[in-house]
Amino acid sequence: MSRFFATGSDSESEESSSADEITPKATGTTFNKQFEELTNIIKTIRNAMKIRDMSKCLEEFEQLYRAFLKSKTIVDKEGVPQFYIRLLADLEDYLNQLWEDKEGKKKMNKNNAKALSTLRQKIRKYNKDFETEISSYKENPEQSAEEEEKDDIGSASSSKSDDDEGVTASKFLKGAESESEGDEESEDWGSDSVDSGGESEDNEGEAASLAVVFLKKYVAQDGDKQPERKKDDRRKRHKKMEQVDEEADEEGEGEEGGWEKVKGGVPLVKEKPKMFAKGTEINNAVVIKKLNEILQARGKKGTDRSAQIELLHALAGISNENNLGEGILVKIKFNIIASLYDYNTNLAAFMKAEMWKKCLECIDELLDILFENSNMFIGENIAEDSENLAISDQPFRVRGCILTLVERMDEEFTKIMQNTDPHSQEYVDNLKDEGRVCGIIDRLLQYLESKGSTEEVCRVYLRRIMHTYYKFDYKAHRRSLGLQGETKSEQDQEESEGEDSAIIMDRLCKFIYAKDRTDRIRTCAILCHIYHHALHSRWYQARDLMLMSHLQDNIQHADPPVQILYNRTMVQLGICAFRRGMIKDAHNALLDIQSSGRAKELLGQGLLMRNMQERNAEQEKIEKRRQVPFHMHINLELLECVYLVSAMLLEIPYMAAHEFDARRRMISKQFHHQLRVGERQPLLGPPESMREHVVAASKAMKMGDWKTCHSFIINEKMNSKVWDLFPEAQRVREMLVRKIQEESLRTYLFTYSSVYDSISMETLSEMFELELPTVHSIISKMIINEELMASLDQPTQTVVMHRTEPTSLQNMTLQLAEKLGGLVENNERVFDLKQGVYGGYFNRGTRTRPRNLIKDHFQIKINCIINVVFS
């Protein structure tokens, strides 16, 4: 096994993975992983050494130490790997050298110097454990490397059989097979280069170029590595080619000749990669072959992905030059985009902005081609062998789905936005590309409208909707305000030519409602539609749509992204209701989100810190992926403010009306919480935050002091924090003032009605600066709802109080009666148990009559008490 120790990580893993394909070996993989880790760390250490980054060195060394401990079991079995020893020795030498270099040390910054001394101490201590190995290495570094080399050649089969020893008998057969295969291979590759000369030469060349890089890196340490590396590389290359060959064989005998030629004609990789030999007739078949060849490498470990992209681009260029037709070009483009997506292997990681932009361009070009060639059919369902890429009378048929690519592009865009700091210029720059994304989606939409199936149209419509629903349509808004936009510049006017987003939304959504068969797209479309309505203050449409969709009943079964969308929609609906002055609706819509105290999380606008312990890294990643990009966020402070103000407008009059009611329920717990927090303050200064403003306003309202309340809710601070965020800020403010006046009037009447015998409406209208009819209507409503015990005296325009509210004593008596009722009921239950009669209190037969009499008797007694008290 020591052979592996010496080699670089790449070839090693390649080897093992190919071995794994034949006989899966658990130990092998962990073994490889751990050693790969070690070699990786060593690589970084060497790099850090080169740039004299001591702190990095120290950090990595500690990591190495840990990684080494982790692989202790294997080390125990196999001995300490040579490369490890080599590093230790080199590092120590290097450190000593640095240490001696006094001037260099002076130049170092503080951190580095500190790290240097720590590291030196550490390695000294640590190296004591490996003293013998290190000294033997130092004595004869060449030999130890050579040893490995020898091992390398000899041990391929032996190590395999070593590994297989532990395998059970049933597996042994397989193992034996693989062994022989492995043997064959290892014999093979020596002569392989002769076998398929040109091709392997190419590989050799490539390997050599790799080796050059390699040499550069390791030039100080080991020259021996080069040939070794080369061999390995060749070997793996060979294997790959074997596979290619096999597949090529399958595909067709006739083209075999051409295939050989092509292979032969790629001699130099160091220069600009040339695909085909000079003079080769480039036709469709050849290009497809080449394409397939390139694609074979896709998804394999060790494939240089950027090189692959380049190759594909080159291929596209060649096919263009030779006028091979759009069919093949489209095919290549599809693959370029796919390999661009492949560039990041990790799905969670986001694409680099440049890559993504490349991808964007590619898609744009692809769409250009598609638009130009109306006789081209593309689709996922076109089988590979029924493709028609050649120019002929028949229309082109190409396998591939443009929609999927665009969708992926859009997702990547979201990911990029998620991973960019929302407060940086970069974010703004990235956001500017949103327009291009929209443009592409629009073009795709046009394309699919004429060519695609309904399902595809639905999907692309949803994409379009997703890019539209959260944007406020200022053009339409301005137009509705009476064409103020006309005075604007020409460009603006041009812009305002386009359709209102409302109309677009309506058209797209209605299509989806009618045609979609997957529930998810429809749900999303409805939610977006509602959101869009709500955003533009079309409250009734939004509400009706929400009620008709019945989403409230079954949204908890939806997947989290849809739930987040639902939450966003609900919140927007609530804010819309607030703008339209429907305080109660606003409160109800926002209650669920706000009462949980996790609005941020529920809206997908950030993770809560306190949950950190509860979820592991994996979950966190998933949750992070669900986050809504910053430009789509709903302002949380605005949300909370709207909620609290609506709660205030509802709760304060209610509290005043039910001051003595024992059964009074809170309308909004959160609002009460804020009030209590406000009360707990030892010293009340002028309000600072939005919450404090609302609390202060609530207190003023409690006293019926609408002017103070007004000044707390609407002032400069609150304007800049909250109200100015609305598109129709002025209208909202006016509505708010009016509501404050009305509710303050109600509160005033509830609180102080016991003080008045009568009060003139004129006075009230002056006090609250409301018109007389409004005061009249409010008071009438209160009287009708039996909230205010009073009557209106029409001739004198006064409210005459009746004073029939129960006194506190009477209230108490009522409470007592209720409690006694409860007591009797409890008592009855005991009695039931004793009698062995189960069941409710009321559905008992005649047998229980006497007890009913007892109860009646009791009731009469209670009534007597109440009567006495009331008299």
Binding site: L809, T813, Q815, G822, N826, N827, V830, L833, V868, V869
Partner: protein, 318 residues
Amino acid sequence: ENLPFFITCLVVLKIIKHYQEEGQGSEVVQGVLLGLVVEDRLEITNCFPFPQHTEDDVDFDEVQYQMEMMRSLRHVNIDHLHVGWYQSTYYGSFVSRALLDSQFSYQHAIEESVVLIYDPIKTAQGSLCLKAYRLTPKLMEICKEKDFSPEALKKACIGYEHMLEEVPIVIKNSHLINVLLLDLQEKSTVADKPELLNLSSSNHLEKSLQLLMDRVDGMSQEIVKYNTYCRNLTKQQQQKQQYLQRRQQENTQRQSRGEPPLPEEDINKMFKPPQAPPRMDTLLIAGQVNNYCQNIKAFTSQNLGKLFMAEALQGHSS
């Protein structure tokens, strides 16, 4: 059987004075009654208060203080038999566990001991309210047993009405004092007492209602507790029954097979009966509720009387 006992006006005045000086609001003052027993009849001739002391006074020894006080009083030739104690009350609330316990210990030592309950609020309204209570023999029995389980109380057949018995009081003065009182009556101008017709009673009623409500809540809780207990008990009984049946079946089977039957002793270990809630508290609460109700009733009937009177007067004058 309940012979009235005599009490001197000195005792009454001293109690009133004690409350006036030290009691306030819902705070309760307490003291010791001294007297003697003459032919089965109790005579209370003097008293002294318990001093008020806070929790911090750890050194203060109440018993020590009482003994000291009694010794000193004996020196000045005052009856020194410890025949009971007195306590002030707040809107008629006095039936409590503490009262029960201390009265029990008094009565246990001297059978004739009583507790005097003084209601300062009613007294302030114009009618002296001083009542003497004793625990009934039945309750004494139960307290002696210290068994307040539902069964024991049921067996003793005790209800809240039979817990305390009121003992009539006769205030008896020496002739000299009587003479003085008559003399004073002559001298005093006619006291105008408008309070007698005062109708602003809501405060009093409110307080009473509040207290009553509180007790009703307590009662409810007790009942719920008892209820759960009962339910648990029956459930367990059922389980026990089932278990027994199963065991019996098994045993018959075993018998038929000729094996020895399984023992049945462990049944009580397996089903420990749930802890029964003590019912004494419920009784006490019931007694207290009854007390409040009597108070309210008396108060309201009085007020109604006044109302009718006022109505009659008004009709007459108009």
